[in-house]
């Protein structure tokens, strides 16, 4: 109390400058000027909301990322592979992404945010059609034309793991590593000896990347410039080779009821807010979806234990997760972290699951389920409806 006046006070709002690296520097000897201060605030806001573009103006080298699209979009594994290539590329290296399969217009934004500088699309390919010889010929043609210093591919089961190994086998002089679980600026690593040893090596020419090894959230963006690829000349190459040894006899989707929940692509999941289970089952059947449940719904005896999703149940990776009357406790959200589209029907707009959802519809579960079943049946029977949608 008595010393109070002796303490030297420092003005916390002294004038400062923001350096190139984004760090604040206080300018000694200057007095705070409020107008200046506001200007600085505004510039930092601007700085943080817009990410810098990484794409080199004059690329000296290129790395190639090869992957299959899934329904015109990229899955997380594909995005992580591009992001890994972009993070590891130096300032003069451009990341070229070769997409095998159709690519939707809005996927370019995904590609830009995961660091793809240039994009090549071969839309005749499709991961559901088995034509490894043709795809390999395309890839060889692309490699020849852009001469990448390194090739990255996701080691997955939608064609890239298979195509990648064919590529490796076709180029025995190139070094290669598969199932890569760690990559950074100076080495790569994978599991060997039945998963009991972590093995390290220098970067090989061809890298097949396991899921989740890189963070696809980048502090920069890229141009995602569409390149033209001379498909005519590479199909010419195909025509010269002998007829294919493979023939496709069709893809079938297993009835949702028959496959394990972990493998299901569409899950309709019920929580405490579902009172009438038959409606939910009808809805799941009309969407050909597998049925899941929250722990409370399982504990109530509405569903069997093997339907429980969450920390103490199953971890699912469906493309579509329709959560009905589920509040979204962390234990439940843990089980659905890999789901791509989460759609919620809930009475409460402040339920935690609404934050996780891509679309939340607020209202009574039973009523909306009934209407949704009617809407789906209409859509299935009425082809005109289809065109207007």
């Amino acid at each position: 109390m008595t010393n109070h006046q002796n303490i030297k006070r420092i003005n916390p709002r002294r004038a400062y400058q923001i350096m190139a690296n984004g760090i604040k520097r206080i300018v000694l000897g200057c007095t705070a000027n409020s107008a200046d201060f506001i200007a600085h605030e505004a510039s930092t806001q601007l700085h943080s909301s817009k990410k810098p573009v990484r794409t080199p103006t004059l690329a000296k080298a290129r790395v190639l990322v090869i992957l299959h699209s899934d329904r015109g979009m990229l899955d997380d594994h594909a995005k992580q592979s591009i992001a890994a290539a972009a993070i590891l590329a130096d300032a003069n290296t451009a990341v070229v992404t070769l997409v095998l399969g159709e690519l939707r217009e809005d996927a370019y934004q995904q590609l830009a945010s995961t660091g793809a500088d240039e994009v090549l699309v071969i839309s005749e390919c499709d991961y559901q059609i088995f034509q490894p010889d043709i795809e390999l010929a395309y890839v060889a043609a692309v490699i020849k034309s852009i001469t990448p210093i390194r090739i990255f591919m996701p080691d997955n089961l939608i064609g890239d793991g298979d195509l990648g190994r064919r590529l490796i086998a076709s180029q025995p002089q190139k070094t290669a590593a598969t199932h890569v679980v760690e990559i950074n600026a100076d080495h790569i690593a994978n599991y060997q000896m039945g998963g009991t040893a972590l093995a390290f090596s220098h970067w090989p020419n061809i890298v097949l990347i396991a899921p989740d090894i890189a963070d696809a959230q980048l502090p920069f963006t890229a141009d995602a410039l569409a390149l033209n690829f001379d498909q005519a000349s590479s199909t010419q190459n195909n025509a010269n080779t002998q007829p294919s040894a493979y023939a496709n006899l069709g893809v079938q989707t297993m009835p949702a009821a028959q496959i394990a929940l972990e493998e299901a692509d569409f899950i309709v999941s019920a929580g405490n807010g579902v009172n009438h289970v038959p409606t939910l089952k009808t809805l799941a059947a009309s969407l050909d979806a597998a049925i899941g449940a929250s722990r409370v719904a399982v504990d109530d005896g509405k569903f069997s234990r093997d339907k429980q999703i969450g920390a103490t149940g199953k971890t699912v990776s469906a493309s579509t997760y329709l959560a009905i009357g589920i509040s979204g406790a962390v234990q439940h959200l843990q089980g659905i972290k890999d789901c791509r589209h989460v759609i919620v029907i809930n009475r409460d707009h402040s339920a935690p699951i609404v934050k996780r959802a891509d679309l939340s519809v607020i209202g009574d579960a039973e009523e909306i389920m009934q209407q949704l079943i009617i809407a789906i049946n209409d859509a299935k029977t009425d082809p005109i409806n289809k065109e207007t949608a």
Partner: protein, 266 residues
């Protein structure tokens, strides 16, 4: 059905904790599938087909007894020195085999899952991976392939071919001591090689796992203020929230979303 020679490639496995030699489950699936296929062909057709179970490595490896117990009547072992190119020795041995079945990944070496691909490339024959079932046809075979998300694909392929069996193939394994007792292990001299180069060779340094792999993250040069913001302000996550309208309209919103993202095909 002209599948005369079928071969199953088996590698030596080891228990992940104790390191004890044992069969590799992936390869046992392939071998059992090959056995079933041979039995099926021989039962319906006088045209006899025969199975070779092949291992490249040490004939004394205890892991091989597991394959005998699983039903192999005889295992051919190509003795290889540590530095020989096993792809080359196997390719020479398998030059006139119609159908080669392998597992998807070994567990006692690099475990890259590359061997079948290198072999198919060396023999210049087609390869089908992720196989769940094989049906012999008049000219070639039909293979049911695993695809994620509950999808299955059927393809046909001409012979000779390499087929890699998926770990989820619905095959039951039966161990029987009686079979172990009658089975034989045949050691064969390996082909001496002109070519000792190995494909895609890499220098590896292994360490017993002590840590989890580190995730690659982009380095961010953010100011303290921006870092603080990103730590405290949760990201603008959460999609559209529909509060208004009656339940018919709300149902339409869901249907439109599903269609827009092609999550349904009607």
């Amino acid at each position: 059905m002209s599948i005369k020679h079928i071969a199953a490639l088996v590698s030596a496995g080891r228990h992940p904790i104790s390191g004890v030699a044992r069969h590799c489950r992936n390869d046992s699936l392939a071998m059992t599938m090959a056995l079933n296929l041979v039995n099926r062909i021989n039962a319906t057709n006088s045209n006899t087909s025969q199975l070779t179970v092949l291992h490249a490595g040490n004939a004394k490896n205890e892991a091989l007894y597991d394959y005998l117990a699983l039903g192999a009547s005889q295992i051919e072992v190509l003795a290889t020195a540590t530095d020989t190119n096993i792809v080359h020795s196997l390719a020479v041995k398998l030059a006139d085999t119609d159908l080669i079945l392998t597992g998807s990944r070994a567990e006692n070496g690099l475990d890259s899952g590359l061997l079948p691909y290198l072999l198919a490339a060396k023999l210049n024959i087609p390869l089908v991976a992720n196989a769940l079932a094989i049906t012999p046809m008049t000219n070639g075979i039909e293979v049911l392939q695993f695809l994620p998300k509950g999808k299955r694909r059927k393809v046909s392929v001409q012979l000779p071919a390499v087929v890699v069996i998926h770990p989820l193939a619905p095959v039951e394994l039966h161990f029987a001591y009686a079979k172990l007792a009658v089975g034989k292990i045949n050691k064969q001299a390996s082909v001496t090689l002109a070519d000792t180069r190995t494909e895609n060779s890499m220098q590896w340094q292994t360490q017993a796992i002590m840590r989890k792999p580190n995730k690659l993250k982009a380095r961010e040069n953010k100011s303290g203020h921006a870092r603080m913001l990103s730590a405290t302000v949760s990201e603008n996550k959460g999609g559209a929230v529909v509060n208004d309208g009656n339940s018919v309209e709300k149902a339409q919103v869901i249907l439109r979303y599903l269609r827009e993202h092609r999550l349904i095909n009607f």
